[in-house]
């Protein structure tokens, strides 16, 4: 490969940027049920664990939170690309929205147990969190792939 292709036009240089980005992002951003289901199970676990008595609920929330971190790290190591939910412009609002929804569901689950003593509510909200996480994860990935110029 030549060091500098001086005859490269600005349009060609810009096209090469998009091509390289797409090539690097392709493996990392492919839709995979294995990742999405694991992510959704861990996210719903944070909400549903409010049904447990203390300190088990704290232990379970900690395990799920660490699990989410390990999942993201392993995924990055496997594909050689590290991004956060907030990295892509398009998917940023999906990630922020998911965070707000999870916090709201976790708070509602906690309140239902503490004030109403209804331990089935966190389980129901956990199921909701699972669905939201699954849809959100796939929406984020679709948005990221679109931003990188890849087929969704």
């Amino acid at each position: 490969m030549t060091e500098v292709e001086d005859n490269t036009s600005p349009a060609e240089a810009l096209a090469s940027i998009n091509k390289a980005r797409a090539a690097a992002a392709d493996g990392f951003s492919r839709h995979t049920w294995r990742y999405d289901l694991t992510y959704s199970a861990l996210a719903s676990g944070i909400v549903a664990s409010q049904a447990l008595h203390s300190p088990l609920n704290i232990v379970f929330v900690s395990v799920c939170t660490i699990g989410l971190s390990v999942l993201a790290q392993k995924w990055s190591e496997k594909h050689g690309v590290k991004v956060t939910g907030l990295t892509p412009r398009g998917g940023r609002w999906i990630a922020i929205g998911l965070g707000i929804i999870f916090l709201g569901l976790a708070f509602a689950a906690f309140t239902a147990v503490e004030r109403l003593h209804m331990r089935w509510i966190p389980l129901a909200l956990g199921a909701v969190a699972f669905g939201v996480a699954l849809i959100g994860s796939r929406m984020w990935r679709t948005s990221y792939r679109r931003e990188m110029g890849l087929d969704v």
Binding site: A23, G80, K82
Partner: protein
């Protein structure tokens, strides 16, 4: 939005692509970037040395699964230079159309 500034260090096709990839991620691993840019290890290392000497990228070594891997990230100086260079490319592309 950066003011358009042509950057000779970034402009070489390989380095432009490396910066483009790093601008869209937090970090990327050496082999992933090398494969995306489609260059050899030695050419890739040469590009990285120039970008690192310019203060545009940072390299981090990390062991994973018993093997040493190099992770690359764009420094804030590199991000500014890359954004300014892309703005200049866009300006030139627009002016050539007009």
């Amino acid at each position: 939005m950066q003011a358009p500034v042509f950057d000779a260090v970034i402009h070489a096709p390989g380095r432009l692509q490396i910066c483009a990839i790093l601008a869209s991620v937090v970090e990327a691993e050496f082999a992933t970037v090398r494969d995306a840019v489609a260059v050899s290890d030695s050419v890739m290392s040469k590009h990285l040395k120039m970008l690192e000497d310019a203060g545009y990228i940072t390299l981090r070594k990390a062991a994973a699964n018993g093997r040493q891997r190099t992770w690359l990230s764009l420094a804030s100086k590199g991000r500014k230079a890359f954004d300014a260079h892309v703005a200049e490319l866009n300006r030139l592309a627009a002016s050539s159309l007009g």
